[in-house]
Symmetry: D2
Subunit: 401 residues, 4 copies
């Protein structure tokens, strides 16, 4: 059943789905169970509490929805908004584009603020819109924390600050799909009203759980929001939370045990250490790109992403060929350039349960591929630059000291 075998371990460096650690694969290696037995609700209760920790919220209500990030988006929107509601949404890359497409198809009145791909959300434009909206016609701000297509991280604290300085009541709805559990994310402190992520990203699970966390204000909004929803309706979850049985419909037993293992690994490492590790991996990658003489698609340091790096290739190279060759010769999966940056960038995902030597193996591979496609890279240069930094920053492994 494996049609494309190649010797050795596959090197998975797309920005999702990411590598699943063995501990999680083991935890999921199991038969189904009755989700109405006492075991699953008991487990779910603790999972819901623990999930809140990785969102840094105590006030939020989490929903573990059997869906993908796209479904989590829909759950966030339809539970809090009504058709026709004005929302401000930032278009900065392919995933924000797809979310805006969803917002429009769900009949919201989307006020799109577009940036050049490679730049962050135009928060100055947001500020002027908020400033001029004393009537509070804007019902929500929708923003991706980390745009996976371009490797751009937006400044959420700044968004909160803008809303607060104008005492604007708009909901703050955040796509944290490629950020939560990897980048610094503070739901309560930043006043995020709905935050979402997907199991197959920094949690390092298979695809299948869309995690949505709602602030009390979002829960309140859900009581009057008129968007039609059934599968994605929080109301059904809240009813079963009350009953103590937790699940309005069948969850994946395997993913629940997997989530338990994922959270245990994160708590054992320490969430701040996880974030610091992603910063190391992101920095090391950027140093390699620089050493290769290539440009980061992300135009300014303030937007650098620690979970994915989009690398611009010279115009005489087709970045898709880099990705193809990675898979065909080096057993390496890299991310394609999408839409506006198709053919122009390839992407290195460096999120999830990943360590430095894995990344260095990938970077060594990218060097050889660049050579293959005609770019005059100095072999070893990126690894050298990354290693020089990592050699100074990698901590001892806590469990082994």
């Amino acid at each position: 059943m494996d049609y494309f075998n190649a010797p050795g371990r596959h090197h998975l460096f797309v920005p999702g789905p990411v590598n699943i650690p063995d501990q999680i694969i083991r935890a999921m290696n199991r038969n189904n169970e009755d989700y109405r037995s006492p075991a699953i609700p008991a487990m779910t209760k603790i999972l819901l509490e623990d999930v809140k920790k990785i969102f840094k919220t105590t006030a939020g209500t989490p929903f573990l929805i059997p869906t993908t990030g796209t479904g989590a988006w829909e759950s966030a929107l339809t539970n809090t908004l009504s058709p026709g509601d004005r929302i401000v949404s930032f278009l900065i890359g392919q995933f924000s584009l797809l979310w805006i497409d969803q917002q429009q198809r769900l009949k919201f009145n989307v006020d799109v603020v577009e940036s050049e791909w490679g730049q962050g959300a135009k928060l100055d434009v947001l500020e002027s819109k908020i400033a001029s909206d004393s009537a509070h016609t804007i019902k929500a701000i929708c923003i991706v924390h980390n745009e996976t297509a371009t490797g751009v991280t937006n400044n959420l604290a700044k968004v909160r600050q803008i809303l607060d300085s104008y005492r604007h009541p708009a909901l703050l709805i955040v796509d944290g799909v490629s950020s939560i559990c990897a980048l610094d994310f503070r739901m309560d402190e930043w006043g995020v009203d709905v935050a979402i992520t997907g199991s197959q990203k920094a949690l390092s699970l298979p695809t299948g759980i869309g995690i949505v966390v709602a602030s009390p204000k979002a829960i309140e909004a859900s009581k009057t929001a008129k968007s039609l929803r059934v599968f994605f309706d929080w109301k059904d979850y809240l009813k079963f939370y009350q009953l103590g049985t937790y699940w309005p419909y069948t969850p994946s037993i395997q993913l629940l045990y997997g989530l338990r293992a994922a959270l245990d690994l994160i708590f054992e490492e320490g969430l701040e250490n996880v974030i610091a590790r992603h910063h190391r991996l992101g920095t090391a990658t950027r140093l390699a790109v620089e050493a290769w003489g290539l440009k980061n698609c992300t135009q300014k340091e303030e937007w650098y992403s620690d979970t994915v790096t989009a690398v611009l290739v010279p115009s005489y190279i087709d970045s898709s060929e880099v990705v193809r060759r990675a898979w065909k010769r080096y057993n390496l999966s890299l991310g394609l350039g999408l839409n506006k940056v198709a053919g122009k960038v390839f992407r290195i995902g460096h999120l999830g349960n990943l360590n430095e030597l894995q990344l260095l193996g990938c970077l060594a591979g990218v060097e050889m591929i660049l050579k293959d496609v005609g770019y005059p890279v100095k072999l070893g240069s990126g690894v050298a630059a990354a290693s020089a930094y990592l050699n100074n920053t990698i901590p001892m492994i806590a469990s082994r000291i």
Copy 2:
């Protein structure tokens, strides 16, 4: 991470999620992969063709949606209907009730035809409605093939016959969640327009894929249906089918390999043999119930379900206690009675990758539990009745002759 260990194998006899065979557990025991590499589309292409075989359709278009049965319901409805559309829907148990609730919340005009729980859909009422609807105001008939709460199987061929005899163009939308791959189901022959199932039922996978298959007529209807939908929109799938990349958003890699293994097992056994095995298991269970002197919740033989049996307990017994005791003393999971039949029935699920000796172990357990809760069962009686039948009907194992 296993808080409720008990010696030996757990006996899982709820009507879903069901036992996953080892071959599938093995196939799913794997890391994530890039779903944009050539491997996943190549695999998906064949999976889609093979899925059609278990629905007995050549004309249908399958969608493997990362969701549960509830989401599959929603996909079936919102892609083919518009708010306000009149639909006829049969209320015969808890799952048809939940589907009707969804239909109403999605703003369809639901013409509910209710039966006593334990009876099948009132097809005579359907006939009179169809007969009198020369204006074709009825846009769809929604029917569960097998009501999991009461163990009632409806006659879909008869529904088709009624529609045909009046040349009525209503769409026929079928919930096959606890039937497809276990009961005789013929999408093309019976003119089913949308049929759905879930991975955790007769396919014997974990929860996570809602399988929806649409007839050409349903695909046509989807072009004009006005229900809002994004995550569940077939259009996005069809676009990616055209592109040959197949996935509008991230699928579960593990479930794809699992589905491959599940289909391989079904094809190796032979779909007709799978159905015959379910008939054996259903019959054996009913013979045991009869031997115990208990009644089947299903009131007539024509509605007997080969995938689940709801057993009525005497009024002096609380069926929930049967289920509790099964779990606490015998390491056995049985299905609770739901809603109107709560406390009155317990359910034995006998679907999926299951064999006769497993069932007999379960039946032996049920006998002891009945004794525990004060019902004067003759121990061994149900097993004897079931065995007498099975001893005459179990075939030799094809691979071992």
Copy 3:
């Protein structure tokens, strides 16, 4: 890679290798590790301490040898004895026969005490030999605790009593392969000098670890024993125990983690509860055999084995056909009759991580097979007899109360 697929769970009722619980399968689902890293010695140290608990010894020294039971036998003998040494050995079935064959090939002077197959060791003969051996020419008594071929359990306490009453210094070497962790076994109390078991028996692991535990007296004997041995030499282990690195050659990493999981399950259930469970399963099986009107190969109650039951079939039936049919029609593995009882008995193994409903499924299967081969069994009779007993004796599951 599964050439003999059959629907549902395989029913494994041979007396070894036995069913592996999911918790152990999960624990073993892993990559290799460096056995010279600090992790493996740290784990081994605790494993060795914990293994002693299941032998009920504090004074013994355990060896976890990468071998089978046959190798463990050889290790027990060659480390404690010299060629030409006189040993008393009991021939009561196929496995004691094989051990005696090994003893002879290793050039010991084997004083064989033979019983009819189905009877226990002739301890009266032992007593007379011991009584007359004031010169202490007998260097060791070799006895199987539980003869797996006939389902006979010997009385070890009695052996110790005989040796003690004559103050005879012979070593007491015990094959506990199908007893330890399932039957009452007390190494220190009974003065056992070498006790062995195999991972694939009551520990419910794959084959691959031969566990040998040596008393201080046995360790002392090993210093002068002249039998040649290298792979099986305890000396190499003891040297590496001293060094704290524990392994003279590469262990199976997977089996170490599996053993950890196996011991955890046993300690969680409680060793005495494990033994009581085996007694329930053994008793239930014997009651079923009796209800079928068949005879137990074990001739007296004092020898009844709680881990395996050898069932005598009438002379007009070939017991091999029972076993063949179990596999070919019912997806059930039973044990063949071996050597002198080939064709005359089939064996039901009921040891390891197994519960009552699993056993009842097996018994229901055996009833149908008996019918198939022409024995006039009353279907349900054995299950009824077993259930009547089990219904009174199965405890609530401790973790679920």
Copy 4:
């Protein structure tokens, strides 16, 4: 149960046990089975045929013994030789030393030919011994094909040539533990009489199968060899081969399925391609060592090993600290220097199911460790040298072209 967790994939670069590919881990993720059912002999029959292919023999008889390499050694010796027999054995490192220790403890008359560690077997000495042994007192030549402690590969073709040129009938017994399936090995062509390997080496399985293949001449010798053996006796295997049941005692079911998967992977890649891949990995490693300015423990190119490289560190560095630091900071396992080269060398194992980017990750790690311990390495230098070579030699992945 994982006491030493660290983020990301562990980098396992000891020369055994080696990385197990996911396909094998999956194949082994299973319950026990009855090894006396028809399934296991059917599988075994094919396995035995296929195992011969990786030894490049058609005349040989393979034995899959539940043991380690040490046990395989013992099986090779005791089945073919008698105590007192004169054998010539080459001491060139720790593993040949251990084998010689075994030979002596088994009471053979061992004529040890010692080389400096880092050099190959002294074949000129062999030649003179053979030349002067017209009486044929030498019964066997024992030689390790690849000494794992020093990374030295001996020239077996030359050994055969010496024996042939003097028409000397000594048996040629070869330890192929760290060579077979990775280095060029030709049992029939080189007239090897007994060849052994272990499952945890180039086959990339867990420890647990010692594979011994005997030539017809070795089988003939086993009929008169007087060394005592029972567990390791080929006679018992041959008897069961005749019976068609294959196993004198319980095999590991999991390892059999694992071996099946391992052979499938090797045959799919092509044995010659596997060997070529090992040559690439070995060459790349040596180029890195050279670029770091360090010396290979192997003193001449003719002895370079493609499965393990022992790297000499400057005298002011303790190579054990390199290994400790690899594990504690970089989640990397390297091999220690053993015995005479303890503290002086660390070893990089590059055998088994391994690819180039994995190796480059390891090499990048070694560079940082060298820096940590005070060696003035230029970061990136080894990776650059290795990449320059690999970039020219890595083939396209056959299944993906």
